[in-house]
Assembly symmetry: C2
Homo-oligomer: 413 residues x 2
Amino acid sequence: MSAPGAGSATGVGAGGAPVRHVPPALRPALDDERLARAAWSRLAEPGDAAAAALVAEVGAALALEAVVTGRGPQRWRTRLEETDPAADLARARAVGGRLVVPGDEEWPEGLHDLDRPAGTERPQGAPLALWVRGPAHLARAVHRAAAVVGSRAASAYGEHVTSEIAGGLAERGVGVVSGGAHGVDAAAHRAALAVGGTTVAVLAGGVDRPYPAANSALLARVAREGALVSEVPCGSAPTRWRFLERNRLIAALTAGTVVVEAAWRSGALSTADRAERLLRPVGAVPGPVTSAASAGCHRLLRERGAVCVTCAAEAAELLAPLGAAAPVPAPAVEVRPFDGLDPHELRVAESLPRRGAAGTERLAGDTGLEVAVVHAVLGRLELAGTAVREGTGWRLGSAALRPPGSRRPAPRG
Amino acid sequence: MSAPGAGSATGVGAGGAPVRHVPPALRPALDDERLARAAWSRLAEPGDAAAAALVAEVGAALALEAVVTGRGPQRWRTRLEETDPAADLARARAVGGRLVVPGDEEWPEGLHDLDRPAGTERPQGAPLALWVRGPAHLARAVHRAAAVVGSRAASAYGEHVTSEIAGGLAERGVGVVSGGAHGVDAAAHRAALAVGGTTVAVLAGGVDRPYPAANSALLARVAREGALVSEVPCGSAPTRWRFLERNRLIAALTAGTVVVEAAWRSGALSTADRAERLLRPVGAVPGPVTSAASAGCHRLLRERGAVCVTCAAEAAELLAPLGAAAPVPAPAVEVRPFDGLDPHELRVAESLPRRGAAGTERLAGDTGLEVAVVHAVLGRLELAGTAVREGTGWRLGSAALRPPGSRRPAPRG
């Protein structure tokens, strides 16, 4: 038991249970859901599924009252004295931030899945409130958005591919959500901003504390053009625990997660794991097997059934509901002679001489086909310009010799 | 109908059907299964499932008799005149080659799957005979072997990774089967030879005709130390069709196929397709998404459910029956402070000061945990050396400060 501090002297209530005095800063929150949510965002650590369940059950204000009066669970009392939701709201307002709570138009629908787990999963705990800084309408910004995450220690390859994918997604109108870190995260935010797209950085600390400091200019730009989001109030430090739980928010806010580069052990893998537990699609970008920076992506492909994603179109397809995405175009490939021929046509066509002529019997011997079959095939090849009559025989036609934009490949199946 | 040539003048047999004279070179084959198989390997093109079915049904000699007498199907008559199985055997012997047929101890078991398709697949047509050149015992050489295939136009990366994987497989006693082509194929054969492993090159033309010519020294070494294999007799040209059908042999001979590098359109994808149709596992090695040489591998991962393979151990695991492979070791990773702590321990440990001391109430406030929980956690952390008593409080212990061989990472989940 914590020793009682100022303002929480213990009395005895009607039921014989100890009743404590309510700290003055918390009094207004006891009948204001919004203030109570703000208070809870300081009392409970991110990912506290028990707090989320209690608040969902009785409401934030009643749950808070149970804690402060001592009639409810004791576990959330340790920060009661330092909790001042009105002051936290004022600090947020001072940096242009706001509080977003369930029921607000801006509250992203996908967060509810953290409380409604799939299958046998335990709830991951929806955030009790979100602190948001920036002009983006949060629910719209993350609607069908992509999480693009990866190593802080990204390689030049990783940063390049991140830019291609995040930029391409943003150009398609897909929001880009990431964690504001060095490396892949920063490249993703930058690429989205560069094409005028929407980007959201989900932080482990308060939205007044851009972390890491080296990214403060970038994060300031995200705050001006997109949104910074956190579930802890201003002034909160980005602890290791909060980084871990921040990853569940990135996963839950988005329609799917693409990991661009990740070492064998990487926080990005935890985001992928959270997404998987939410039944959100997970994509992984491959890289050289000789690069440790891609080992985590290969692990996702190999062990977790992640989808192989190599470009923005494939990333967009990952996120889209079935059938809704534009089909991913096949890469432009060389047109080759004999493309599209059936097996008999192929065997006859490649037996035709380029110069001179071959009779049908010789062609039958060369191809191992009956003469009657050779005749029928030659008729079809003649129509296509692949075979040309030459005296009493046949030679290869110019259609086979000059395929558009191609060189003649060496034979190989 | 083919015009009758010398030695196949038409008469009328007992049943009124035309009966032709048997070409002299074929007469010995009519009551010698082995010679008859050799003859069939010239009469029918690779992958002729009808020929395979007929021969499987009535035997090679009877099937041959039906063709030469004109009482059977006409479609295999076009090469009758040029078929001389004794001469083909002599040509093979002249280059140190031999004929292997079903029933021989050397006949690889896996080839039967080409006649026994899985599910709704049509038979792919087992070879009617194999021409083999080299000291390897074919059935043993390909037992649990790996097909390692890929682009002729391999990149330096592709050749390097091929060497690592094929060499590593050979060191584990796994045979390496490939197609003898430039690029990945050549690198695979070379790597297996370099470690004294077993390697088999399956050719589209005769085993007396190393193709491509630039690989003739390599293929000669394979012929001296492993085996060259073909289903067409000596002197046969490597046609496009035969390359395609050669791929089904590579797939059927091996326990699984690993594609190292392959363009979007590549013969290696056809080998993977053949393997898949035989229910053999298919692995694909990823590469940079910016490299066209890896596009086919990524396509296999994305569209065909190929297994991501990044090293020889993973390739070996692909081929091995469930549970038989040595577990793939995780890469050596940095040991980090706070590794292995549970969530409460992590929250307490990272709240401990490095200098000075913090009391349990302060730790409770910092972590959001009850004081009783903090006490219990500190007890466990003290045992591990992660927490140390300092006066009435606690500080971080040296066990957390000096993890073996690590640097302290920046916080990130």
